[in-house]
Symmetry: none
Subunit: 121 residues, 4 copies
DNA sequence: GTGGTCTAGACCACA
DNA sequence: GTGGTCTAGACCACA
Protein backbone atom coordinates (compact mmCIF):
# COMPACT_ATOMS: atom_id res chain seq x y z
CA UNK A 1 0.00 0.00 0.00
CA UNK A 2 1.22 3.45 -0.82
CA UNK A 3 -0.35 6.67 0.21
CA UNK A 4 -1.08 9.78 -1.75
CA UNK A 5 -1.36 13.18 -0.16
CA UNK A 6 -4.83 13.95 -1.47
CA UNK A 7 -6.30 12.56 1.77
CA UNK A 8 -4.91 12.10 5.28
CA UNK A 9 -3.15 8.78 5.73
CA UNK A 10 -5.46 7.75 8.56
CA UNK A 11 -8.44 8.14 6.20
CA UNK A 12 -6.73 6.08 3.52
CA UNK A 13 -6.10 3.34 6.07
CA UNK A 14 -9.76 3.50 7.17
CA UNK A 15 -10.80 3.03 3.55
CA UNK A 16 -8.49 0.07 3.15
CA UNK A 17 -9.95 -1.62 6.24
CA UNK A 18 -13.52 -0.87 5.16
CA UNK A 19 -12.82 -2.44 1.79
CA UNK A 20 -11.48 -5.57 3.45
CA UNK A 21 -14.55 -5.76 5.66
CA UNK A 22 -17.14 -5.38 2.93
CA UNK A 23 -15.53 -8.07 0.75
CA UNK A 24 -15.36 -10.39 3.76
CA UNK A 25 -11.59 -10.44 3.82
CA UNK A 26 -12.10 -9.33 7.40
CA UNK A 27 -15.16 -11.15 8.67
CA UNK A 28 -17.81 -10.02 11.15
CA UNK A 29 -16.41 -10.35 14.65
CA UNK A 30 -12.88 -11.04 13.45
CA UNK A 31 -9.93 -9.49 15.25
CA UNK A 32 -8.05 -6.77 13.38
CA UNK A 33 -4.24 -6.80 13.43
CA UNK A 34 -2.80 -4.95 16.41
CA UNK A 35 -2.06 -1.28 16.05
CA UNK A 36 1.64 -1.99 16.39
CA UNK A 37 1.68 -4.75 13.78
CA UNK A 38 -0.17 -2.79 11.18
CA UNK A 39 1.95 0.31 11.90
CA UNK A 40 5.09 -1.66 11.32
CA UNK A 41 3.77 -3.28 8.17
CA UNK A 42 2.62 0.00 6.62
CA UNK A 43 5.58 1.93 8.01
CA UNK A 44 3.45 4.60 9.59
CA UNK A 45 3.33 5.89 13.11
CA UNK A 46 1.22 3.78 15.53
CA UNK A 47 -0.66 6.94 16.49
CA UNK A 48 -1.90 7.18 12.91
CA UNK A 49 -3.28 3.64 13.03
CA UNK A 50 -4.78 4.39 16.42
CA UNK A 51 -6.61 7.31 14.88
CA UNK A 52 -7.95 5.13 12.06
CA UNK A 53 -9.20 2.57 14.57
CA UNK A 54 -10.84 5.21 16.78
CA UNK A 55 -12.65 6.76 13.84
CA UNK A 56 -13.80 3.33 12.68
CA UNK A 57 -15.06 2.70 16.17
CA UNK A 58 -16.90 6.02 16.18
CA UNK A 59 -18.53 4.90 12.95
CA UNK A 60 -19.43 1.64 14.74
CA UNK A 61 -17.70 -0.46 12.11
CA UNK A 62 -15.28 -1.91 14.64
CA UNK A 63 -15.29 -2.09 18.41
CA UNK A 64 -12.38 -2.43 20.76
CA UNK A 65 -12.05 -4.44 23.95
CA UNK A 66 -9.50 -3.38 26.49
CA UNK A 67 -6.64 -5.85 26.60
CA UNK A 68 -8.08 -7.98 23.82
CA UNK A 69 -7.89 -5.93 20.66
CA UNK A 70 -10.10 -4.40 17.99
CA UNK A 71 -12.81 -6.38 16.24
CA UNK A 72 -15.04 -6.07 13.20
CA UNK A 73 -18.64 -5.32 14.13
CA UNK A 74 -20.98 -8.28 14.53
CA UNK A 75 -23.80 -6.31 12.95
CA UNK A 76 -24.25 -7.73 9.45
CA UNK A 77 -26.76 -5.04 8.57
CA UNK A 78 -24.13 -2.46 9.40
CA UNK A 79 -21.64 -4.16 7.05
CA UNK A 80 -24.18 -4.41 4.29
CA UNK A 81 -24.98 -0.74 4.71
CA UNK A 82 -21.27 0.11 4.63
CA UNK A 83 -20.83 -1.75 1.39
CA UNK A 84 -23.77 0.08 -0.15
CA UNK A 85 -22.49 3.45 0.90
CA UNK A 86 -19.02 2.76 -0.55
CA UNK A 87 -20.64 1.63 -3.78
CA UNK A 88 -22.68 4.78 -3.66
CA UNK A 89 -19.59 6.99 -3.57
CA UNK A 90 -18.15 5.10 -6.55
CA UNK A 91 -21.35 5.55 -8.52
CA UNK A 92 -21.54 9.23 -7.68
CA UNK A 93 -17.89 9.82 -8.56
CA UNK A 94 -18.42 8.04 -11.86
CA UNK A 95 -21.49 10.07 -12.76
CA UNK A 96 -19.72 13.29 -11.84
CA UNK A 97 -16.70 12.34 -14.01
CA UNK A 98 -18.84 11.44 -16.99
CA UNK A 99 -20.97 14.55 -16.70
CA UNK A 100 -17.86 16.68 -16.54
CA UNK A 101 -17.21 15.28 -20.04
CA UNK A 102 -20.77 16.24 -20.95
CA UNK A 103 -22.10 12.73 -21.40
CA UNK A 104 -25.80 12.33 -20.66
CA UNK A 105 -27.65 9.55 -18.92
CA UNK A 106 -28.35 7.46 -22.01
CA UNK A 107 -24.77 7.71 -23.26
CA UNK A 108 -23.35 6.75 -19.86
CA UNK A 109 -25.43 3.59 -19.69
CA UNK A 110 -24.57 2.77 -23.29
CA UNK A 111 -20.82 3.13 -22.76
CA UNK A 112 -21.01 1.05 -19.61
CA UNK A 113 -22.90 -1.71 -21.41
CA UNK A 114 -20.40 -1.78 -24.25
CA UNK A 115 -17.50 -2.07 -21.85
CA UNK A 116 -19.18 -4.84 -19.84
CA UNK A 117 -20.28 -6.81 -22.90
CA UNK A 118 -17.41 -9.22 -22.52
CA UNK A 119 -18.03 -9.84 -18.82
CA UNK A 120 -20.22 -12.72 -17.77
CA UNK A 121 -20.43 -12.01 -14.13
CA UNK B 1 -5.56 23.45 -8.67
CA UNK B 2 -3.71 21.41 -6.13
CA UNK B 3 -1.60 18.39 -6.79
CA UNK B 4 -1.49 15.02 -5.14
CA UNK B 5 1.59 12.87 -5.13
CA UNK B 6 0.01 9.80 -6.72
CA UNK B 7 1.03 11.07 -10.17
CA UNK B 8 3.77 13.41 -11.35
CA UNK B 9 2.73 17.05 -11.46
CA UNK B 10 3.44 17.28 -15.17
CA UNK B 11 0.95 14.43 -15.79
CA UNK B 12 -1.70 16.08 -13.62
CA UNK B 13 -1.26 19.28 -15.61
CA UNK B 14 -1.56 17.31 -18.86
CA UNK B 15 -4.82 15.83 -17.60
CA UNK B 16 -6.16 19.22 -16.64
CA UNK B 17 -5.39 20.60 -20.11
CA UNK B 18 -6.90 17.55 -21.81
CA UNK B 19 -10.06 17.98 -19.79
CA UNK B 20 -10.29 21.63 -20.85
CA UNK B 21 -9.83 20.65 -24.48
CA UNK B 22 -12.47 17.92 -24.57
CA UNK B 23 -15.12 20.16 -22.99
CA UNK B 24 -14.26 22.93 -25.42
CA UNK B 25 -12.98 25.25 -22.74
CA UNK B 26 -9.86 25.33 -24.90
CA UNK B 27 -11.03 25.23 -28.51
CA UNK B 28 -9.38 23.63 -31.53
CA UNK B 29 -6.55 25.86 -32.73
CA UNK B 30 -6.72 28.11 -29.67
CA UNK B 31 -3.54 29.34 -28.05
CA UNK B 32 -2.67 27.87 -24.67
CA UNK B 33 -1.33 30.17 -21.96
CA UNK B 34 2.45 30.61 -22.25
CA UNK B 35 4.69 28.28 -20.33
CA UNK B 36 5.73 31.10 -18.02
CA UNK B 37 2.20 32.36 -17.37
CA UNK B 38 0.78 28.99 -16.46
CA UNK B 39 3.85 28.23 -14.32
CA UNK B 40 3.28 31.37 -12.33
CA UNK B 41 -0.44 30.74 -12.00
CA UNK B 42 -0.03 27.14 -10.80
CA UNK B 43 3.11 28.00 -8.81
CA UNK B 44 5.23 25.32 -10.44
CA UNK B 45 8.52 25.60 -12.24
CA UNK B 46 8.36 26.57 -15.94
CA UNK B 47 10.34 23.41 -16.75
CA UNK B 48 7.50 21.32 -15.38
CA UNK B 49 4.96 23.07 -17.62
CA UNK B 50 7.42 22.73 -20.50
CA UNK B 51 7.42 19.01 -19.91
CA UNK B 52 3.61 18.85 -19.89
CA UNK B 53 3.48 20.80 -23.14
CA UNK B 54 6.14 18.62 -24.83
CA UNK B 55 4.34 15.44 -23.87
CA UNK B 56 1.05 16.83 -25.11
CA UNK B 57 2.80 17.75 -28.35
CA UNK B 58 4.18 14.24 -28.65
CA UNK B 59 0.62 12.97 -28.26
CA UNK B 60 -0.35 15.42 -31.02
CA UNK B 61 -2.96 17.08 -28.84
CA UNK B 62 -1.19 20.42 -29.08
CA UNK B 63 1.45 21.81 -31.41
CA UNK B 64 3.95 24.52 -30.68
CA UNK B 65 5.37 27.24 -32.87
CA UNK B 66 8.63 28.79 -31.84
CA UNK B 67 8.25 32.38 -30.86
CA UNK B 68 4.48 32.21 -31.19
CA UNK B 69 3.18 29.82 -28.59
CA UNK B 70 1.50 26.47 -28.10
CA UNK B 71 -1.84 25.71 -29.70
CA UNK B 72 -4.62 23.12 -29.41
CA UNK B 73 -4.65 20.74 -32.38
CA UNK B 74 -6.90 21.66 -35.30
CA UNK B 75 -7.82 18.00 -35.72
CA UNK B 76 -11.39 17.63 -34.44
CA UNK B 77 -11.27 13.85 -34.86
CA UNK B 78 -8.25 13.79 -32.56
CA UNK B 79 -10.17 15.75 -29.92
CA UNK B 80 -13.20 13.50 -30.25
CA UNK B 81 -10.98 10.46 -29.87
CA UNK B 82 -9.31 12.01 -26.81
CA UNK B 83 -12.68 12.57 -25.16
CA UNK B 84 -13.69 8.97 -25.82
CA UNK B 85 -10.50 7.58 -24.39
CA UNK B 86 -10.80 9.67 -21.22
CA UNK B 87 -14.38 8.47 -20.84
CA UNK B 88 -13.12 4.96 -21.38
CA UNK B 89 -10.69 5.21 -18.46
CA UNK B 90 -13.51 6.49 -16.22
CA UNK B 91 -15.74 3.59 -17.21
CA UNK B 92 -13.01 1.05 -16.65
CA UNK B 93 -12.06 2.50 -13.28
CA UNK B 94 -15.70 2.42 -12.22
CA UNK B 95 -16.18 -1.18 -13.26
CA UNK B 96 -12.99 -2.20 -11.49
CA UNK B 97 -14.10 -0.40 -8.30
CA UNK B 98 -17.53 -2.00 -8.35
CA UNK B 99 -16.18 -5.44 -9.06
CA UNK B 100 -13.75 -5.09 -6.18
CA UNK B 101 -16.91 -4.78 -4.06
CA UNK B 102 -18.21 -7.91 -5.78
CA UNK B 103 -21.09 -6.29 -7.61
CA UNK B 104 -22.06 -7.99 -10.85
CA UNK B 105 -23.09 -6.51 -14.15
CA UNK B 106 -26.81 -6.36 -13.46
CA UNK B 107 -26.33 -4.83 -10.02
CA UNK B 108 -23.95 -2.17 -11.38
CA UNK B 109 -26.42 -1.05 -14.02
CA UNK B 110 -29.24 -1.07 -11.48
CA UNK B 111 -27.35 1.08 -8.95
CA UNK B 112 -26.41 3.48 -11.69
CA UNK B 113 -29.99 3.79 -12.86
CA UNK B 114 -31.24 4.43 -9.35
CA UNK B 115 -28.67 7.17 -8.79
CA UNK B 116 -29.45 8.82 -12.13
CA UNK B 117 -33.24 8.64 -11.70
CA UNK B 118 -33.38 12.25 -10.61
CA UNK B 119 -31.38 13.52 -13.57
CA UNK B 120 -33.23 14.54 -16.69
CA UNK B 121 -30.30 14.98 -18.96
CA UNK C 1 32.73 12.50 -28.11
CA UNK C 2 32.26 16.13 -28.83
CA UNK C 3 29.04 17.84 -29.62
CA UNK C 4 28.14 20.29 -32.33
CA UNK C 5 25.33 22.75 -31.95
CA UNK C 6 23.37 21.69 -35.02
CA UNK C 7 21.34 19.30 -32.89
CA UNK C 8 20.51 19.19 -29.19
CA UNK C 9 23.06 17.30 -27.12
CA UNK C 10 20.42 14.84 -25.94
CA UNK C 11 19.68 13.91 -29.56
CA UNK C 12 23.37 13.45 -30.36
CA UNK C 13 23.69 11.13 -27.38
CA UNK C 14 20.64 9.20 -28.55
CA UNK C 15 22.26 8.79 -31.97
CA UNK C 16 25.51 7.60 -30.42
CA UNK C 17 23.68 4.97 -28.37
CA UNK C 18 21.61 3.85 -31.36
CA UNK C 19 24.78 3.41 -33.38
CA UNK C 20 26.30 1.27 -30.63
CA UNK C 21 23.17 -0.86 -30.50
CA UNK C 22 22.89 -1.51 -34.22
CA UNK C 23 26.54 -2.60 -34.49
CA UNK C 24 26.11 -4.84 -31.48
CA UNK C 25 28.51 -2.88 -29.34
CA UNK C 26 25.58 -2.76 -26.94
CA UNK C 27 23.81 -6.09 -27.21
CA UNK C 28 20.10 -6.89 -26.88
CA UNK C 29 19.16 -6.95 -23.21
CA UNK C 30 22.49 -5.47 -22.10
CA UNK C 31 22.59 -2.85 -19.37
CA UNK C 32 23.49 0.68 -20.45
CA UNK C 33 25.84 2.71 -18.28
CA UNK C 34 24.00 4.48 -15.47
CA UNK C 35 22.75 7.99 -16.08
CA UNK C 36 25.30 9.36 -13.64
CA UNK C 37 28.26 7.43 -15.08
CA UNK C 38 27.65 8.43 -18.65
CA UNK C 39 27.03 12.03 -17.57
CA UNK C 40 30.39 12.15 -15.89
CA UNK C 41 32.14 10.49 -18.82
CA UNK C 42 30.64 12.83 -21.42
CA UNK C 43 30.80 15.80 -19.07
CA UNK C 44 27.17 16.70 -19.47
CA UNK C 45 24.48 17.12 -16.86
CA UNK C 46 22.74 13.95 -15.66
CA UNK C 47 19.41 15.50 -16.63
CA UNK C 48 20.53 15.63 -20.24
CA UNK C 49 21.37 11.93 -20.23
CA UNK C 50 18.09 11.27 -18.47
CA UNK C 51 16.33 12.98 -21.34
CA UNK C 52 18.21 10.85 -23.91
CA UNK C 53 17.29 7.69 -22.04
CA UNK C 54 13.63 8.66 -21.69
CA UNK C 55 13.35 9.44 -25.39
CA UNK C 56 15.01 6.15 -26.27
CA UNK C 57 12.56 4.42 -23.97
CA UNK C 58 9.66 6.16 -25.67
CA UNK C 59 11.01 4.84 -28.98
CA UNK C 60 11.12 1.41 -27.33
CA UNK C 61 14.80 0.99 -28.10
CA UNK C 62 15.65 0.69 -24.42
CA UNK C 63 13.59 -0.01 -21.33
CA UNK C 64 14.32 1.05 -17.79
CA UNK C 65 13.71 -0.70 -14.52
CA UNK C 66 13.58 1.42 -11.40
CA UNK C 67 16.44 0.73 -9.11
CA UNK C 68 18.10 -1.60 -11.60
CA UNK C 69 19.08 0.42 -14.62
CA UNK C 70 18.36 0.95 -18.29
CA UNK C 71 18.59 -1.92 -20.77
CA UNK C 72 18.73 -2.41 -24.53
CA UNK C 73 15.48 -3.85 -25.89
CA UNK C 74 15.27 -7.64 -26.18
CA UNK C 75 13.39 -7.28 -29.46
CA UNK C 76 15.84 -8.20 -32.23
CA UNK C 77 13.34 -7.19 -34.92
CA UNK C 78 13.23 -3.72 -33.39
CA UNK C 79 17.03 -3.50 -33.55
CA UNK C 80 17.09 -4.72 -37.13
CA UNK C 81 14.47 -2.14 -38.04
CA UNK C 82 16.46 0.57 -36.29
CA UNK C 83 19.56 -0.30 -38.29
CA UNK C 84 17.61 -0.16 -41.51
CA UNK C 85 16.10 3.18 -40.73
CA UNK C 86 19.48 4.69 -39.86
CA UNK C 87 20.88 3.32 -43.12
CA UNK C 88 17.89 4.81 -44.87
CA UNK C 89 18.65 8.30 -43.58
CA UNK C 90 22.26 7.95 -44.75
CA UNK C 91 21.13 6.89 -48.22
CA UNK C 92 18.62 9.73 -48.45
CA UNK C 93 21.13 12.32 -47.27
CA UNK C 94 23.63 11.05 -49.84
CA UNK C 95 21.14 11.22 -52.69
CA UNK C 96 20.09 14.71 -51.68
CA UNK C 97 23.72 15.85 -51.54
CA UNK C 98 24.54 14.39 -54.94
CA UNK C 99 21.42 15.78 -56.53
CA UNK C 100 22.23 19.22 -55.15
CA UNK C 101 25.38 18.90 -57.29
CA UNK C 102 23.15 17.92 -60.20
CA UNK C 103 24.36 14.36 -60.55
CA UNK C 104 21.81 11.93 -61.95
CA UNK C 105 21.07 8.37 -60.98
CA UNK C 106 23.51 6.72 -63.40
CA UNK C 107 26.34 9.05 -62.45
CA UNK C 108 25.77 8.53 -58.72
CA UNK C 109 25.97 4.74 -59.07
CA UNK C 110 29.04 5.07 -61.29
CA UNK C 111 30.91 7.31 -58.86
CA UNK C 112 30.06 5.00 -56.01
CA UNK C 113 31.30 1.97 -57.91
CA UNK C 114 34.56 3.67 -58.79
CA UNK C 115 35.18 4.63 -55.17
CA UNK C 116 34.37 1.14 -53.90
CA UNK C 117 36.44 -0.67 -56.53
CA UNK C 118 39.28 -1.13 -54.11
CA UNK C 119 37.08 -2.62 -51.39
CA UNK C 120 36.58 -6.34 -51.26
CA UNK C 121 33.92 -6.48 -48.68
CA UNK D 1 22.09 30.02 -43.37
CA UNK D 2 22.92 28.95 -39.87
CA UNK D 3 26.21 27.71 -38.60
CA UNK D 4 27.10 24.81 -36.47
CA UNK D 5 30.20 24.68 -34.35
CA UNK D 6 31.56 21.46 -35.82
CA UNK D 7 33.61 23.51 -38.30
CA UNK D 8 34.90 27.07 -38.31
CA UNK D 9 32.41 29.54 -39.72
CA UNK D 10 34.83 30.67 -42.42
CA UNK D 11 35.03 27.09 -43.70
CA UNK D 12 31.27 26.76 -43.71
CA UNK D 13 31.02 29.94 -45.74
CA UNK D 14 33.65 28.63 -48.16
CA UNK D 15 31.59 25.49 -48.61
CA UNK D 16 28.46 27.49 -49.28
CA UNK D 17 30.23 29.56 -51.96
CA UNK D 18 31.77 26.48 -53.55
CA UNK D 19 28.36 24.87 -53.76
CA UNK D 20 26.95 27.94 -55.49
CA UNK D 21 29.82 27.88 -57.96
CA UNK D 22 29.60 24.23 -58.90
CA UNK D 23 25.85 24.42 -59.54
CA UNK D 24 26.36 27.55 -61.63
CA UNK D 25 24.47 29.77 -59.24
CA UNK D 26 27.67 31.81 -59.29
CA UNK D 27 28.99 31.62 -62.86
CA UNK D 28 32.59 31.57 -64.09
CA UNK D 29 33.96 35.09 -63.99
CA UNK D 30 30.97 36.45 -62.04
CA UNK D 31 31.52 38.95 -59.25
CA UNK D 32 30.93 37.71 -55.71
CA UNK D 33 29.02 39.94 -53.27
CA UNK D 34 31.27 42.38 -51.43
CA UNK D 35 32.76 41.29 -48.14
CA UNK D 36 30.70 43.88 -46.32
CA UNK D 37 27.42 42.89 -47.96
CA UNK D 38 27.80 39.23 -47.29
CA UNK D 39 28.98 39.93 -43.72
CA UNK D 40 25.87 41.94 -43.04
CA UNK D 41 23.60 39.39 -44.64
CA UNK D 42 25.04 36.46 -42.68
CA UNK D 43 25.53 38.56 -39.55
CA UNK D 44 29.16 37.61 -39.18
CA UNK D 45 32.24 39.74 -38.84
CA UNK D 46 33.64 41.04 -42.16
CA UNK D 47 37.02 39.61 -41.16
CA UNK D 48 35.50 36.16 -41.24
CA UNK D 49 34.24 36.66 -44.79
CA UNK D 50 37.61 38.09 -45.72
CA UNK D 51 39.21 34.91 -44.48
CA UNK D 52 36.83 32.78 -46.53
CA UNK D 53 37.61 34.80 -49.64
CA UNK D 54 41.38 34.62 -49.08
CA UNK D 55 41.28 30.88 -48.64
CA UNK D 56 39.15 30.49 -51.75
CA UNK D 57 41.68 32.63 -53.61
CA UNK D 58 44.52 30.48 -52.33
CA UNK D 59 42.66 27.47 -53.70
CA UNK D 60 42.37 29.41 -56.99
CA UNK D 61 38.60 29.13 -57.00
CA UNK D 62 38.18 32.89 -56.93
CA UNK D 63 40.50 35.80 -57.71
CA UNK D 64 40.35 39.33 -56.45
CA UNK D 65 41.09 42.54 -58.23
CA UNK D 66 42.02 45.55 -56.18
CA UNK D 67 39.25 48.09 -56.22
CA UNK D 68 36.95 45.93 -58.29
CA UNK D 69 36.02 42.98 -56.14
CA UNK D 70 36.29 39.22 -55.99
CA UNK D 71 35.39 37.03 -58.97
CA UNK D 72 34.77 33.37 -59.67
CA UNK D 73 37.61 31.76 -61.60
CA UNK D 74 37.34 31.73 -65.39
CA UNK D 75 38.92 28.28 -65.47
CA UNK D 76 36.07 25.88 -66.27
CA UNK D 77 38.31 22.86 -65.74
CA UNK D 78 38.99 24.12 -62.24
CA UNK D 79 35.26 24.36 -61.53
CA UNK D 80 34.63 20.93 -62.96
CA UNK D 81 37.41 19.55 -60.78
CA UNK D 82 35.97 21.32 -57.73
CA UNK D 83 32.59 19.76 -58.35
CA UNK D 84 34.15 16.33 -58.64
CA UNK D 85 36.09 16.71 -55.44
CA UNK D 86 33.01 17.81 -53.51
CA UNK D 87 31.13 14.84 -54.91
CA UNK D 88 34.04 12.70 -53.87
CA UNK D 89 33.79 13.81 -50.24
CA UNK D 90 30.05 13.02 -50.29
CA UNK D 91 30.69 9.56 -51.70
CA UNK D 92 33.42 8.85 -49.16
CA UNK D 93 31.33 10.08 -46.26
CA UNK D 94 28.45 7.89 -47.42
CA UNK D 95 30.62 4.80 -47.75
CA UNK D 96 32.13 5.41 -44.31
CA UNK D 97 28.66 5.82 -42.77
CA UNK D 98 27.32 2.67 -44.36
CA UNK D 99 30.37 0.63 -43.44
CA UNK D 100 30.09 1.82 -39.84
CA UNK D 101 26.72 0.04 -39.95
CA UNK D 102 28.49 -2.99 -41.39
CA UNK D 103 26.89 -2.91 -44.80
CA UNK D 104 29.01 -4.33 -47.59
CA UNK D 105 29.49 -3.15 -51.15
CA UNK D 106 26.68 -5.17 -52.67
CA UNK D 107 24.20 -4.16 -49.98
CA UNK D 108 25.09 -0.49 -50.31
CA UNK D 109 24.46 -0.49 -54.07
CA UNK D 110 21.25 -2.40 -53.57
CA UNK D 111 19.87 0.00 -50.97
CA UNK D 112 20.81 2.95 -53.14
CA UNK D 113 19.06 1.45 -56.15
CA UNK D 114 15.92 0.76 -54.15
CA UNK D 115 15.79 4.33 -52.89
CA UNK D 116 16.38 5.78 -56.37
CA UNK D 117 13.84 3.51 -58.08
CA UNK D 118 11.24 6.23 -58.12
CA UNK D 119 13.58 8.87 -59.55
CA UNK D 120 13.74 9.35 -63.31
CA UNK D 121 16.62 11.73 -63.44
C1' DG E 1 23.05 2.54 -6.49
C1' DT E 2 19.57 3.41 -10.17
C1' DG E 3 16.09 5.90 -12.66
C1' DG E 4 12.33 9.79 -12.15
C1' DT E 5 10.73 14.30 -10.93
C1' DC E 6 11.17 18.91 -9.69
C1' DT E 7 13.05 23.61 -8.73
C1' DA E 8 16.01 27.54 -9.90
C1' DG E 9 18.07 29.89 -13.18
C1' DA E 10 20.60 30.68 -17.54
C1' DC E 11 20.87 31.21 -22.44
C1' DC E 12 19.39 30.32 -27.19
C1' DA E 13 16.31 30.46 -31.56
C1' DC E 14 12.58 32.51 -33.60
C1' DA E 15 9.08 36.14 -34.52
C1' DG F 1 7.62 37.49 -25.69
C1' DT F 2 7.52 32.43 -26.72
C1' DG F 3 9.12 27.75 -26.72
C1' DG F 4 13.57 24.69 -26.27
C1' DT F 5 17.73 23.17 -24.09
C1' DC F 6 20.96 22.81 -20.57
C1' DT F 7 23.29 22.99 -15.97
C1' DA F 8 23.27 22.48 -10.93
C1' DG F 9 21.44 20.42 -7.34
C1' DA F 10 17.78 18.33 -4.46
C1' DC F 11 14.78 14.64 -3.13
C1' DC F 12 11.97 10.53 -4.06
C1' DA F 13 10.81 5.45 -5.25
C1' DC F 14 12.59 1.10 -5.80
C1' DA F 15 15.87 -2.77 -5.20
Amino acid sequence: MDFNNAFPIYVQIMDMIKRKIVVNELKAGEKLPSVRDIAQELKVNPNTIQRSYSELEREEIVFSQRGLGTFVTQDLEKIKYLKESIASTFVEKFIRDMESLEYNKVEIIKLLNIKMEGYNE
